[in-house]
Symmetry: C2
Amino acid sequence: MHGPRHIPLGYGGEFDAISAALHRWGPLAAGVGDDCAVVEVPPGARLVLSVDNAVENVHFRRPWLTPEEIGYRSTMAAISDLAAMAAQPIGVAVALTLPERWRGDFLQLCDGIGDAARASGSRILGGDLSRGSELALGVTAIGHVTSPMSRRGARPGDAVWVTGRLGGPLLAVRAWERGGTPADDIRTRFARPVARVEEARWLVAHGATAGMDVSDGVASEAGHLAAAGSVRIVLDLDRLPAWAPATFDDAARSGEEYELLVTAPADLDAAAFASRFGIALTRIGVVEAPVPGAAPVEARIAGVRTDTPRGHDHFPRA
Amino acid sequence: MHGPRHIPLGYGGEFDAISAALHRWGPLAAGVGDDCAVVEVPPGARLVLSVDNAVENVHFRRPWLTPEEIGYRSTMAAISDLAAMAAQPIGVAVALTLPERWRGDFLQLCDGIGDAARASGSRILGGDLSRGSELALGVTAIGHVTSPMSRRGARPGDAVWVTGRLGGPLLAVRAWERGGTPADDIRTRFARPVARVEEARWLVAHGATAGMDVSDGVASEAGHLAAAGSVRIVLDLDRLPAWAPATFDDAARSGEEYELLVTAPADLDAAAFASRFGIALTRIGVVEAPVPGAAPVEARIAGVRTDTPRGHDHFPRA
């Protein structure tokens, strides 16, 4: 958090709160306290920046997650945008709106922010703390890149690949909305997503032609890659790697996965990827030349054309 | 705003809203639409980054300002942090939480954001749009700097200088809180602050030893410069350049001024500054060696010591 003057919380203890957060973050937040964070960008690299806004009852609900998890997840979502470009994270800054009823959770929120920064090789660059009526974390992540992964570049003949396993966030939200509790592994997928930072750089180094992170469902993201590359993408839904008990449709629609969807040569060494990163890299489709009048994304099950699943809004009525 | 997938507004028309904003911004927002904004940092320069969070009923109240003014003011506040370090703005990214009742004001908010970016030589780098229950703008501003202005560096014998005229924001808020309307010039000072970007670089080039922007009242900021520089600062309150009818005390306490408070040699050419920028540069005090046991900031009127005014929270009970 930069200068204490920037913290119009309006109730006592705000300086103490910031000091405690900085103490908790330790070297992770070295340099915070002046008007701006100062960052060195390696010569020849370009800076990339992304903003992700996580709002209570829109992106998460309080009973589902611990404050640490809310801080962690919001921060990792912004860092995933850097991974989507195969950028190396530098750090994050957080505009935190903190209602009075969340005041006692402040340090736990900070711990989660710190965990996500640490896990992705980022620093805490600064922030701004305000009161307000609902918890909101506006996270800015910056990084640097010399060989960016782009949404453009998919070529007919490429295969379509996805990292990890899909459907966890959708299953978790479904369980909570039905008044239940998700299984531990499914809950963890929602609460502790992992931005695929190193994985993205490996994929670019091994010939990925285009790619992005999966925020809004694989089928929907495939549409973005198809449009950006002026190609057609055919997805084999029965090849989607899924968490039980997700259906093919669940796996194709589940958003906020933060896995990577890339196009790359069909002979990509998935075994080497899996051995290096401990997660799967699965071939789930092919890139074709565009067909006038045909949909840019076609979905198949057992080789037979089916409806293309749409992206899923986890919180349609919040 | 980056990829439409990042906009879980949850009600129809969000793609249209973003498209309309991008259309409105035109070349100002060129390059927005991929996962991250990509920025070139000049060789040898360091990147600086700051975050400012503006929340409805905390930093502004709806009846006081037009949506354009809210967008403008929130954006300029973040840019002022760059000016505080004498950095050159590159661009801004906005995490916007937009309640349904503000939906019709979206493009006007964007116009204000765009105006502030344009006025300070910035681009729109991206953003994230969410629904929520109160309007909030988390603005990240980035810039680059080779010769930063720092809070540290004030030397005994320096003079203390301030740009512009003080007290306007305090007078404006006071008028509104009493149910009245501020005079036009006073209202404009609150609604349309100007970050002193070029002024800061001029001051550094002309020997400023330390400085910052005035977010929290001159007297309070003087305390920061005194602490950071391990010096004592004596302010002559009767020299403070003030908007009528602000008292000396008002001028010393008024925050969110976004003027610059700097320490610099006493022979700084204030006339050259005024002629170049069209605003005053006024000598308002001196830097002395620290006195053990004495307050780091002393205030005087007509050379006689008086109480040091404290920073003013414009919205203590919001």
